[in-house]
């Protein structure tokens, strides 16, 4: 059977159970697709031998009739997840050669469920970026192009390699992580689905830390159903992560009834940004109409502190990053600079970190150091944490008033050209996260669903934001939106 790599998780699961093909067939189809997709630079460490061994094990489990939904499904794993014995660099030079002696909880759970790892995926360095351009591996490239225009576009970031790989059918699905929008923005840029669950749903153990109070892992998939299936396998309590939620994980897929009658969907007026492209505005209105048509009740709402989410984020995330990234000191793992005669330990730290971190990571670590330094801690860090409380309160208020989910655009634009933002100041790039970052600050689940194409033929996404721990309901609404939007476009193969 050809084109097995193009299957969804759901279709592959059913085909595997029916014995139409094996996990090894699926895995080989993906490995062949990866071999031919060097131009996308999505996979940066390939693990074909491991993949085939895992596929053979999965086939044995399938034959024995003991196979969970993810059994035999070939995945790409973001380079941020520690994978035992396999290069894990967080796309940074400072972790060059690092091969963890342990497995992250997320990959451990996926492997226990029988999933197959094809390799590690490109990303922004330490997940800091919105275009995959800060990666030590060079940028991943979006499989989509503007019609009649050959310029290479960003797949978004930081999970850019994950998004590109899923959109180009190099794998059936991929893991991503989201600190300010790093799953949802790349999903929107590539016509794929990505969900960031409620903070605490997915264990952070063994995932290279960026901003620990915001980081969450999640699936990046071809459909909402696939997100439900894969998220199920990723969630669950983990004693090794002190912020992991000790809550039952419901059967997300079983909750995809498609029935959203009577659900109250909030439309926040503050997300109607000045200068928002007409196409985004139109898509949002169309999405609203689709949910109304499906029986939902539409309500205008206000989230008054929205405007302050990005500035608060750019205090809190760098502050946490400066603390988390202090561990990269050239002592225990990764890169150490070559030292001159007479260099002391401070020289070693300073030279190692100057060589090992790229410019954006250095900038954020230093901003974080500044906002935490004596004299500024209250003015910046504590202020931002107070504003964060208010941002969360905005959401709590509308949910308490009966809103079930909130519909917003996922991004302020379609995918932009690689290099296009090179001369912009850092703040311009940060604006990419304007619609997604509130969700991380409030710890809520958010999903990006492909909803249409712009005039140049590029995918656009809508975001649905749900109540804490209500991923099942959120995915059901997303499923309904997906069905009505009927997005089926795929990028034309040029790679």
């Amino acid at each position: 059977m050809s084109d097995l790599n193009k299957l969804t998780i759901a279709a592959a699961r059913d085909g595997l159970k029916a014995g139409d093909f094996t996990s090894l067939d699926l895995t080989n189809a993906c490995l062949t697709a990866i071999e031919g997709a060097g131009a996308l630079n999505a996979f940066v460490h390939n693990t074909p031998d491991l993949a085939r061994a895992q596929a053979a094990e999965a086939d044995a489990r399938l034959a024995a009739g003991d196979a969970p939904a993810m059994c035999g499904i070939p995945l790409g794993i973001k380079d941020l997840f520690c994978t035992k014995g396999v290069d894990t660099q967080a796309a940074s030079r400072i972790l060059e050669g690092f091969k963890p002696e342990y497995e992250s909880t997320i990959t451990d759970k996926l492997f226990a469920a029988g999933a197959v790892m094809l390799g590690k995926l490109n990303m922004d360095e330490f997940a800091m970026g919105s275009s995959n351009e800060t990666s030590v591996y060079g940028t991943a490239v979006n499989p989509w192009k503007r019609s009649g225009d050959d310029s290479a576009l960003t797949p978004g970031g930081s999970s850019g390699g994950s998004a590109a790989a899923v959109a180009a059918d190099l794998c059936l699905a991929a893991t991503g992580t989201d600190t300010g929008g790093s799953i949802r923005q790349p999903a929107a840029f590539t016509g794929t689905v990505g969900i960031k669950p409620t903070y605490g749903r997915c264990s952070r153990w063994g995932t290279v830390a960026f901003a620990s109070s915001l980081d969450q892992a999640g699936p990046m998939t071809k459909t909402v159903r696939d997100s439900a299936i894969m998220l199920q396998a990723m969630c669950g309590f983990d004693a090794k992560d002190s912020t992991s939620a000790n809550l039952e994980v419901p059967d997300f897929e079983a909750m995809l009834s498609g029935d959203i009658k009577g659900k109250v969907i909030g439309i926040p007026k503050e997300y109607r940004m000045e200068g928002m492209p007409a196409e985004i505005e139109k898509l949002w209105a169309e999405g609203t109409a689709m949910l109304k048509d499906a029986g939902a009740q539409i309500r205008d709402i206000s989230l008054p502190h929205t405007k302050y989410a990005l500035p608060a984020y750019y205090v809190i995330a760098p502050a946490e990053a400066s603390s988390n990234l202090a561990r990269y000191d050239g002592v225990r793992f990764g890169h150490r600079a070559t030292l001159a005669a007479g260099d002391g330990i401070d020289d070693m730290y300073e030279k190692t970190r100057a060589e090992g971190f790229g410019p954006e990571v250095q900038r954020r670590v230093m901003i974080g150091t500044y906002v935490l330094s004596a004299g500024f801690y209250d003015a910046y860090y504590n202020k931002a944490r107070r504003v964060r409380t208010l941002i969360k309160r905005d959401f709590e208020t509308v949910f308490a008033d009966g809103v079930d989910a909130i519909l917003t655009p996922a991004t302020p634009s379609a995918a932009f050209g690689l290099g296009e933002m090179k001369n912009a100041d850092p703040v311009q790039m940060y604006l990419n996260d304007v619609f997604t970052v509130t969700v991380n600050l409030a710890g809520l689940p958010g999903v990006s669903v492909p909803a249409g194409l712009d005039a140049k033929g590029l995918p656009l996404g809508l975001q649905l934001i749900g109540k804490p721990w209500d991923e099942g309901d959120l995915l059901n609404i997303a499923h309904s939106l997906e069905a009505r939007a009927g997005f089926v476009s795929k990028p034309a193969k040029w790679w």
Partner: protein, 95 residues
Amino acid sequence: MSIDIDTARRVAKLARIRVAEERLPALAEEFNAVLGFIEQLGEVDVEGVEPMTSVTPQRLYRRSDGVTDGNQQDKILKNAPDAREGFFAVPKVVE
């Protein structure tokens, strides 16, 4: 609030990142762009609002204070740039 070159130098030192002297003016300018953006937070009235410590209402849970792991010296040293005789090796720290 504006960051001058001396402040940029001090922040780089605190962050243990070596920055060449000639890079400092550009770095100070980048800091100012980001901090200028952050300044907007000054508009928000946060009187009586607690700084967030945990985004979910749960408290950090406790476990019994016992040893659950250990005896992995080889694994711990495996990725070290310089490990000798069972230790991480670094340049001389104490004169």
